[in-house]
Amino acid sequence: MRILIVEDETALREELQRSFEGLGYVVDTAADGTEGTYLARENPLDIAVIDLGLPGISGIDLIREARAHGREYPILILTARGRWQDKVEGLEAGADDYLVKPFHSEELLARVRALVRRAGGWSQSVLNCGPITLATAAQRVELHDTPVELTGYEYRVLEYLMVHAGDVVSKAQLTEHLYPDDADRDSNVIEVFIRRLRTKLDPDSTLRPIETLRGRGYRLTLPRQA
């Protein structure tokens, strides 16, 4: 998952970046509204966390700008003032949730996860497709109620496919959302992860959870269960 954090307070921004990276997110950061607006408009994001009290372009204007450019990923606003006027204005501008400073990292992470899966059409924190169960909070995967051991990257690929279950996800999309810009992007690596996932989730080749659409990408075919 790729997240944008726009926060002018350096300590907070760096700390948030560290915790999200620790959880396997690709993190873009900006310290002011101008840079934030550029990233919000241009980067393939899954979610953005935006502080309302920004120097330069305000958080509200940043959100409006992103929405005006057709960006539909969820946006969570951070507000220090915590005034309802600000929260309502932010939500009206196109944000999806708010968090008042100071917040707990866990609270922010939970909200971010909830917003991401809600954007993928899921209403619970545990994603269920056929016999595969993925608990987003614990980052745990089970197959037929048996835990499956996945590496970080394998988990991220599976989470992305499951959040978007039923949709075609291109290799480029996976690379963009799972690797930072400066990383060495070899699309063959994605193929390797997919192959390993298939082995781990479908050892006897009966389930066939991930479909390959030649030239277009991958699709998780198992039906979603609410």
Binding site: W84, V88, E92, P102
Partner: protein
């Protein structure tokens, strides 16, 4: 007495009364003196006439009736009389018109020779009298008397009735003109105080929030007051927004480090107890900042305040909360009338935001907001269909409980609601809603 109009009117009335009274008295006096002296002149003429008719006859001085100047002296009881007395006071002659006695004391002491003695007798009937003493020289002295006094009398009834008529006319006209002056004064007052009335009307409109400044062109005496008032109003508005901005900046600069601190702490992998202790301190600080700043920001009851409609604020907040609680569909009932409360828009938003957020969090699917406008208070009622409040509800509202004595999230929202309501002299009560959930009633004095 505490009205400019009444003061000016009373002063005008007093002045008018004194002026009209003095004028009337002076005029009356002057006309009376003048009539009296005219009467005296006339009697003097008569005395000379009688003098001319006097001659020395056998046994003293006699009056020749044919030579009398005034025929009325010949007609009995004509109102004009003449009497001749000698220096002993004995009557020597009287005109045929005079049928009564000489009023007592009139001829008791004669004036010096050549002197006039004028009198206005009121009893037994109004008479004007003039007495003149002459000395008769020559042969007349042989009769023993050399000094004679001529007394002329004139009936003063007509004089008096004319005076009475004049007085009546005089006072009638004076009263009429005083009435007219009064009316003019009233009109002048109305016209003169017009701009003041306009200012008062506009200030009232500002008080009820229908207007933001006093508009119009005013006389120079009022202009500085009007400019001063407008300046004050604008200054107050500026001051408020500066104050709020300062509070916002303070909130921002206090909370951002707290946020950083909390995120550090979360990442620091401390053991459970140390982390919890440190976190409690952060929560305390956060609670103090939130509570005190929201308390400071509540504008409170203030003279120049616009009434704010409740429904649009509820609609905005419920749309926002529905977005946030997308996983849990909530039906918000927005008031369907245009009831208003006299509060600052921002304060109403804070108050309703806290109440609706609580309701949205605890309800199962419904939140209803009602406004009941009474004669003494306007109440905003927020109902939900959740589990309702725990036992000790009033403790949640306790104002003045130090915010640092609370743990974060424990009713801080409700305490802030109570604080805002209190700033407007309002009250908050927690009860049970019809579906069995929580009901919060916030009453603002009307």
């Amino acid at each position: 007495m505490n009205s400019l109009k009444i003061r000016l009117l009373l002063a005008g009335l007093l002045l008018l009364a004194v002026f009209v009274g003095l004028t009337g008295l002076a005029l009356e006096r002057a006309v009376y003196e003048r009539s009296l002296s005219a009467e005296e002149d006339r009697l003097q003429g008569l005395v000379y006439g009688v003098l001319g008719a006097m001659d020395v006859g056998p046994g003293g001085v006699v009056v020749n009736p044919e030579e009398l100047p005034e025929p009325r002296l010949q007609t009995p009881d004509s109102g004009l009389y003449a009497v001749l007395v000698d220096d002993k006071g004995t009557e020597r002659w009287r005109s045929p018109s005079f049928l009564e006695d000489v009023p007592a004391g009139l001829t008791a002491g004669l004036p010096e020779v050549g002197d006039w003695q004028f009198a206005y007798l009121r009893t037994p009937r109004p008479l004007m009298s003039l007495l003149f003493t002459v000395r008769w020289a020559g042969e007349a002295t042989s009769t023993g008397a050399s000094e004679y006094a001529i007394l002329v009398l004139h009936d003063a009834e007509r004089f008096e009735s004319r005076q009475g008529g004049f007085q009546q006319t005089l006072w009638l006209w004076l009263v009429v003109s005083a009435g007219l002056l009064m009316a003019v004064q009233l009109a002048v007052l109305r016209w003169g105080l017009g701009p003041l009335r306009e200012v008062v009307r506009q200030v009232k409109e500002i008080e009820t929030g229908e207007r933001e400044a006093i508009a119009g062109d005013y006389p120079s005496e009022l202009r500085s007051v009007v400019d001063g008032l407008n300046g004050l109003i604008a200054h107050e508005a500026r001051q408020r927004s500066r104050y709020r901005n300062a509070l916002d900046d303070l909130a921002h600069s206090l909370k951002t480090p707290l946020a950083a601190l909390r995120v550090y702490l979360d990442a620091a992998r401390l053991d459970g107890e140390s982390r919890q202790r440190a976190d409690e301190q952060i929560s305390r600080m956060d609670g103090i900042v939130r509570y005190q700043l929201s308390k400071a920001a509540a504008a409170g009851a203030r003279a120049l305040r616009k009434p704010v409609a409740v429904a649009p604020v509820v609609a905005k907040l419920s749309a926002a909360l529905q977005k946030v609680h997308r996983d849990k569909p909530i039906a918000f009932e927005v008031p369907d009338d245009d009831s208003c409360v006299r509060a600052e828009q921002e304060d109403l938003m804070e108050l309703l935001g806290n109440l609706l957020e609580n309701a949205a969090r605890h309800c199962s699917s419904r939140v209803a907001v009602l406004v009941e406008a009474g004669s003494e208070a306007t109440s905003i009622i927020v109902d939900d269909d959740g589990p309702g409040f725990p036992e000790q509800t009033q403790a949640l509202l306790q104002r003045g409980v130090r915010a640092d004595a609370r743990t974060a999230g424990q009713g801080l929202g409700l305490a802030m609601v109570a604080e805002i309501a209190a700033a407007y002299g309002g009250t908050v009560s927690l009860t049970r809603s019809p579906p069995g959930g929580a009901r919060v009633v916030v009453s603002f004095p009307a």
